[in-house]
Symmetry: C2
Subunit: 562 residues, 2 copies
């Protein structure tokens, strides 16, 4: 195992391929890998990471692609393995830096991306649709695309042939042997590439800790069927808005049971529109009804397909649970099916929704009490198959937290890959590949890029300010002085938020007088700049709040000179 500290890599030698993960190694999200050889750069995926409590007010976290800002012209292409947010969500932000980067992806992937571009008003992107089996020469890189099965259709693995060696990057994948669309992970291609000799195998680590095999998608059909068979009232199914196959199963069940289907939630409507238009979703004739038409039908004649399976506070489902949805009111006897995973960190919000629904008398079916979700990622057993079929010279686990990467690396070792051929790195780790020789040659800093409502970056310092403000509140002391007459003209006025109750004014009487005296003294002693006077205030008020109130609010002293 080897997680080097930040350490500059050597200059890149001719015909050596350098691999740097710019995101997704250390987190589940913001997946992005950078490949460089002979001055040319190819990127694989460009996704977002969704923030945690440690990132208040942050909407998205981007890969560290600002590292590329002075290399933009060297980028020869961006390959997208599939259409999930954590793989394509950051593309608009990258293209804002250089709009004509050639983007390679499958039909559905680019279809979903195009929707994003509309929102971000990106018009002149260079989108190049590719399909499994295609070979495309992109400058120093010869790309070959391989079909893989995942929780969204049309996912691709990509092989990169370079003078530095042959890399196979799986993207996200699993090996469902009986997928709804019959499109299996192409192990024949994996085998053929293995025979040719895979010098570096980059594999999805998300489920490497999970023993055995991921259950086939179709195995959740009985649970869905049971819900439709038993429900005498309204049915709501919540799942990821990109999970076309899950939606397909619900459409099929609805057709069998003569229920109309209503998409609820912007992204659900949008994505299913794309999926249907491109032929990835088979929609039975006139089964879809709009939210407006809903009241024409009895509850037992419809099923709602909704977003919000992760308990997102503003999502359709959360609003139903809080009786705040403008159009939909759930009542006793209705059924809600959460056909989705429970992403770690979302438990509180998901259970809040389940409790809210339960309080309404709604029956809630979820992965805790029925088989209504299967993962989109290969479990340990499947990864072992891959390693044995590809028999790679070197391995680099990608996509996951450290614990996942380590578990994946151990699986590779178990199949005979020598430990020192397992490139275990986090974001920013620099791996050089030359023929069959791969090694970690350094580690660059690969910081988070935060995005909030403003679509403007949020800095670490702003975040730490927010954390302090959120935990402790702030206290502001305003004084007006006259530096010429060396007098305190007015104040100090004290404003506090977030940590006091009762009559603040009275509470401040003592300290106000103390600060007034301190300022007067300082002025008389000849202190003649507002900055130093503000320091005087900071000291006094700081000692007071920590001593008297045991709090550490943010302190904002303001001295105005007239």
């Amino acid at each position: 195992m080897d997680f080097p500290e930040v350490m500059n890599p050597p200059k890149l030698a001719r015909d050596v391929l350098r691999v740097i993960p710019l995101g997704g190694l250390g987190d589940v999200g913001r997946n992005m890998a950078m490949f460089e050889i002979n001055g040319k750069i190819l990127l694989v995926d460009c996704g977002v990471l969704f923030p945690e409590d440690a990132h208040p007010g942050v909407d998205l976290i981007l890969p560290a692609f600002d590292l590329l800002s002075d290399r933009l012209d060297d980028i020869v292409g961006l390959v997208l393995t599939h259409g999930h947010e954590d793989h394509i969500g950051a593309v608009p932000y990258l293209l804002k830096q250089r709009q004509d980067i050639p983007v390679f992806g499958s039909q559905l992937t680019l279809g979903l991306l195009a929707e994003k571009f509309r929102e971000h008003r990106i018009r002149n992107a260079d989108l190049r649709t590719v399909a499994a089996g295609d070979r495309v020469a992109v400058d120093e890189f010869e790309l070959e695309f391989v079909a893989v099965n995942h929780s969204i259709p049309d996912a691709l693995a990509v092989a990169l042939r370079t003078k530095g060696g042959l890399v196979l990057h799986t993207g996200d994948f699993k090996m469902d042997q009986l997928p709804l669309d019959r499109r299996i992970t192409d192990l024949r291609a994996f085998a053929r590439l293995g025979e040719e000799g895979v010098d570096l195998f980059m594999t999805d680590s998300t489920n490497a800790e999970v023993p055995g095999f991921t259950t086939p998608e179709k195995d959740i059909q009985p649970a869905i069927e049971r819900v439709f068979a038993n429900s005498e009232k309204r049915i709501v199914v919540a799942c990821f808005a990109s999970h076309v196959h899950r939606v397909q199963q619900v459409l099929n069940a609805a057709a069998r049971h003569g229920r109309k289907v209503c998409y609820v939630g912007r992204s659900m409507v949008k994505n299913m529109g794309v999926a249907e238009k491109l032929g990835y979703l088979e929609v039975p004739d006139n089964i879809i009804v709009s939210l407006k038409e809903l009241d024409r039908y009895r509850p037992d004649q419809v099923v709602l397909l909704s977003t919000g399976s992760q308990g997102e506070p503003l999502s359709a489902l959360s609003r139903m649970a809080n009786k705040e949805h403008p159009a939909i009111e759930l009542t006793e006897g209705d059924t809600v099916l959460l056909a989705s995973s429970l992403i770690p960190g979302n438990e509180n919000s998901v259970y809040r929704v389940i409790n809210g629904l339960s309080r309404l008398g709604v029956d809630v079916v979820h992965k805790g009490n029925a088989l209504v979700h299967v993962s989109g990622h290969a479990s340990a057993g499947e990864l072992l198959y891959c390693y044995n079929i590809v028999q790679p010279t070197n391995v680099m686990p990608v996509h996951g937290e450290i614990r996942h990467l380590i578990a994946n690396g151990k699986l590779a070792e178990a199949t005979g890959v020598p430990a020192d051929h397992v490139m275990l790195v986090e974001d920013g780790g620099v791996v050089d590949l030359s023929g069959s020789k791969a090694e970690v040659v350094g580690r660059i800093d690969a910081p988070y890029i935060f995005v909030d409502g403003t679509m403007r970056g949020v800095t670490e310092s702003q975040l730490s300010d927010r954390l302090i403000l959120g935990e402790e509140g702030f206290i502001s002391v305003i004084a007006v002085v006259n530096l010429h007459s060396k007098k305190l003209v007015s104040g100090p006025e004290i404003q506090a938020r977030g940590f006091l109750e009762g009559d603040q004014d009275k509470m401040f009487d003592g300290i106000r007088a103390e600060i007034a005296k301190a300022l007067t003294d300082a002025l008389e002693e000849g202190v003649s700049d507002t900055y130093r006077l503000q320091q005087v205030i900071r000291r006094r008020i700081g000692r007071w709040v920590s001593g008297k109130l045991r709090r550490r609010p943010m302190i904002v002293p303001v001295v105005v000179s007239t």
Copy 2:
């Protein structure tokens, strides 16, 4: 199902027993039940709830016992079922209101409580030790205590005989048939009380959603044994500091493998001291070593018993994972055993610890990859046994979120309890019991009481301020005016935190001028009080930040008049 809105209950009639949960019905935590008959009040448990992200800077949440503040003298006793924080943690805050409330509990429960009192400097508490089988008359209530098995020793259920009927309250319990201390849940007593006729059965709902039976504590011994057998370096075991039996198993394994044991973390040292002193923990001779003595031993000669199994940022384990622990440095080959549950909401922090340890090359064994934890609560199968043995007339599910209460109620119905005999209420629900007749007669508001570092209450409005500040930051605009000369003397000065970057001063030039003009105009138009001038500022700056920056920071206008 019946969750009434807030609605005042009728005046309590003579010889009718009124039951009001003051906490723990709707949350997992702050458990407290109030029983009143003929003007006398008996309380069962008085625990804390640990806050979520929605409660920034809050340390604890208390039951709604401020509802009792004008009834303190009517309280005839407080019964504590066991020594967990969510059942005894709030006692000091209650006793600060009336210190001589008689407190009934088992030896260990009161032993742990006494430690709390020391910290809170409570000296004259009236502690009355009781044991399983004891019968105690407390004014209108005749109490009988029944042994139950839980994840802490010496837990008790309590039966209340009153003129209003017989209530059996299980507290937290499970039915491990082979517990380490051989002290099983006394189903004979449950049966005898059932024969006598239990009018209201209040049962632990925590695991009501979990099918089957909770695994016996001793079944995790093999996993612990395996860790000790395979580890050639240091072992760290993290578990709840109150889980005496879990610690006992580690002590036994350490003795078998000739390792010394070192307690790490204040509460672990404190609680195990109490447990040993009172004879609930059998400590092999001179096996315990202090942190100071640790460096006398090779890593393979010791096992550390540590707090922090929930990833608490300041706990010993988190510090080890971040290489910040002053005394303990973990390295490759060490093993950390997380012998604990993963409480929903703690996933992020726990996985952060696991990732940190993995990064150090530490082997992490946790409930995700081994049987190293069993629950302390009865699963559905066990609850069914209870209902069938007690055959209660009425049932009131307690301890859990709505989903748990509902699941528990359904189990009761499955054993033949009529639906309208299941009292399904949340905190503040008022249930009157008269003989065999129980009914929900109202619902009072049972608000959270927040406690932070100051040991002073935190109000809802402070919390919402903190949430805004934490998400959006704040912007403060300070202007000095002279109301007599109707002039803007100085400013406006603008201070912003948490949402801006770059040169703020320059950014504000435009709006500063705009506000200056608005103030001057207002003054000339005769606006002559600072409050209205502040409104002028609020409007301008508000429009500016939301329009220009798309943010909604807290706005704090300050107008000082000289």
